[in-house]
């Protein structure tokens, strides 16, 4: 795809910075996991460009819904790294007061309506957020990210049908990273592509290079524009790759090949964007280094903050179950 949108420099630098920040955050998370401080973590390394390209078009009052693998969605939507890292460590200062953990990070004030541990479960919720915007008469949009595996859940189809008949301002963004746990997409998905399924619901769909943030930006921009303008939903299949195992403890080479890994890592979204910034002279090497350093520093600060934060009081166990329960 040739990129036709002209993107201003601030946006370009923001996208780069976001991708690097996600990368560093995930590396730090992995260290925390290796140290036994966090469990059940699904790394998003390799997939950074997808939410960054899309979220670049979103306002704080737009909504994002995620999956079990959602750290990158949260960061791209502007969540506070300190609170996120504290949440991963189960601390009371976490986004969710430590009650949710890695699979449930949410921050309604930033429009992050939650990671969700049940595959496919958030897709109808996102349609409902689109419906809500419509009933309330706003131009807010909702974006739901989900995996190639989730594309086989019935919820996707029910939600696409609702979005189709009601013309909802909802983006369906499938992060096709080629695997659901160890199951390859060629095995699990019948049909030429996942994107193609949307056409059965009258929803325009597009296959994007999910390792190219500029392409994600361009395609995401048009989809968000359509949604805001009341033109209805869009389906984006972003072809991407997770560099690590499904959840950290698995060895991906038992179900995929070294060549395949090398191929995708050779198309790394961060590296390609860095090259683009240099080549187009949007940033000097020093400026890029500066961004890299800043990203690392914020993540280190988040790790410190999380470490220094207290665990919730055991009394917290039974609060927040209801708003009121006489």
């Amino acid at each position: 795809m040739t990129i036709t949108t002209s993107i201003d420099n601030d946006k370009l630098l923001w996208m780069y910075q976001m991708m690097v920040t996600i990368r560093r955050f995930e590396e730090q998370s992995k260290r925390e996991a290796d140290a036994g401080k966090l469990r059940g973590m699904h790394s998003s390394v390799g997939q950074e460009a997808v939410p960054v390209g899309v979220c670049a078009h979103l306002r704080d009052d737009d909504y994002v819904l995620g999956t079990h693998r959602s750290h990158h969605h949260c960061i791209a939507k502007g969540l506070d790294l300190n609170a996120m890292m504290a949440e991963l460590l189960g601390k009371s200062t976490g986004t969710n007061k430590g009650k949710g953990g890695t699979m449930h990070i949410a921050d309604i004030n930033k429009g992050m309506l939650g990671a969700n541990g049940v595959v496919g479960s958030n897709i109808p919720v996102a349609a409902g957020v689109g419906l809500s915007a419509r009933i309330r008469g706003t131009d807010q949009v909702s974006v739901v990210f989900f995996g190639d595996g989730a594309a086989n859940q019935g919820t996707l189809h029910e939600a696409m049908n609702l979005a189709g008949i009601w013309k909802l301002p909802t983006l369906f963004v499938c992060e096709n990273n080629r695997y659901a746990e160890s199951t390859p997409v060629e095995y699990s998905v019948s049909g030429e592509s996942i994107a193609e399924r949307a056409s059965g619901y009258n929803i325009p769909s597009v296959i994007a290079d999910g390792q190219n943030v500029l392409e994600m930006y361009e395609i995401g921009g048009e989809a968000v524009r359509r949604a805001r303008a009341g033109e209805g939903p869009t389906f984006i299949e972003a072809q991407t790759y997770r560099y690590n195992g499904h959840f950290g403890a698995d060895n991906p080479l038992t179900y995929r090949t070294q060549e395949e890994e090398d191929y995708y890592e050779g198309r790394d979204c961060v590296e390609r964007m860095k090259a683009h910034l240099s080549q187009t002279k949007v940033a000097t090497e020093d400026e890029i280094n500066e961004i890299d350093k800043k990203a690392l520093a914020t993540v280190e600060e988040a790790a410190r903050f999380a470490d220094d934060s207290p665990f919730p009081d055991p009394e917290e166990l039974t609060t927040d179950v209801y708003i009121s329960y006489p």
Binding site: A106, I108, G128, V129, S132, R134, Y322, I323, S324, P326
Partner: protein, 345 residues
Amino acid sequence: MVTTETETRKLSYIQAVNEALRQEMERDPAVFIMGEDIAGGAGREDQGIIDSWGGPMRLTKGLIKQFGKERVRDTPISEAGFIGAGVGAAATGLRPVVELMYVSFFGVCSDQITNNAAKMHYMFGGKIKLPLTIMTGMGAGLATAAQHSETLYSIFTHFPGLKCAVPSDAYTGKGIMTTSIRDDDPVIIFQNRQLMGLPASTHVPEDPYTLPIGKARITREGSDVTLVGIGFTSYLNNQAADLLAAEGISADVVDLLWTSPLDEEAILDSVQKTRKVVIVDEDYPRCSLATDISALVAEQGFDYLDAPPKRVSPPHTSVPYSQPLEAAYMPTAEKVVEAVREVMA
């Protein structure tokens, strides 16, 4: 609280709930309704067809004409889709009322109820509000067989994060609907189909009113035995109390109205007074509301009891179609009387 009925304004269950929905929609633009055929025919405005069914039980009849099809929304048959959509709408400023036609269909959509609606407030550290009301039809006795006749409030009561209400007549039907819509937690209202079919008999005030969440009512005061019921079984218990009165047995009738929160105090107070309890429930017998209450009384009212708690539940059997089998399946006033005789013996 003893409820006395003044006999001024009688509505049927359906009329009363319809009124609650209309009043709450008038009061608060954030309230909207969606479900299958809740207007019916809403896709054919061009042919002059706007309202048809008004819901399979006619609970929503006429509302689309007043509020339009944005707020009274027919849905395709895709319960996971539109109940999930209700969760999303509730999380972002609206107060959806969503209909799951029969509770027996929970299995196509309960992930949205038990994993999203029930848990989001907790998982997200209390930082989100989910004022979602789900209304659903339930109950046997209408020859709709195994897949359309279940009761099932027990399994939703099981889940922390959900409130569960079971009206027992038109008055409580209206009050509970109003209460649930205004409440900030997810509430499921279980509506019994036989109660919906009864003629108008209870007084229903015209002005909107709420009922206290989690509070039972005593529909009959008595001293010999406590009858605990809910929804349709409260209706049966009132009949049974008449039959018992004729035998000189005075029953205290507790109509729970809510299973979550449960009014433990009302149950225990009554049992303390009567020292005997019969729990009448239409849900399946295992791991049920009935066992929940029996356990409560045994554990916290052990010293009050002159006889073991007694349950009247259907057998551990799916709901049969054939009329004589279904009649044998259901709790009845006669079975309640029989059980009372046993605990009095």
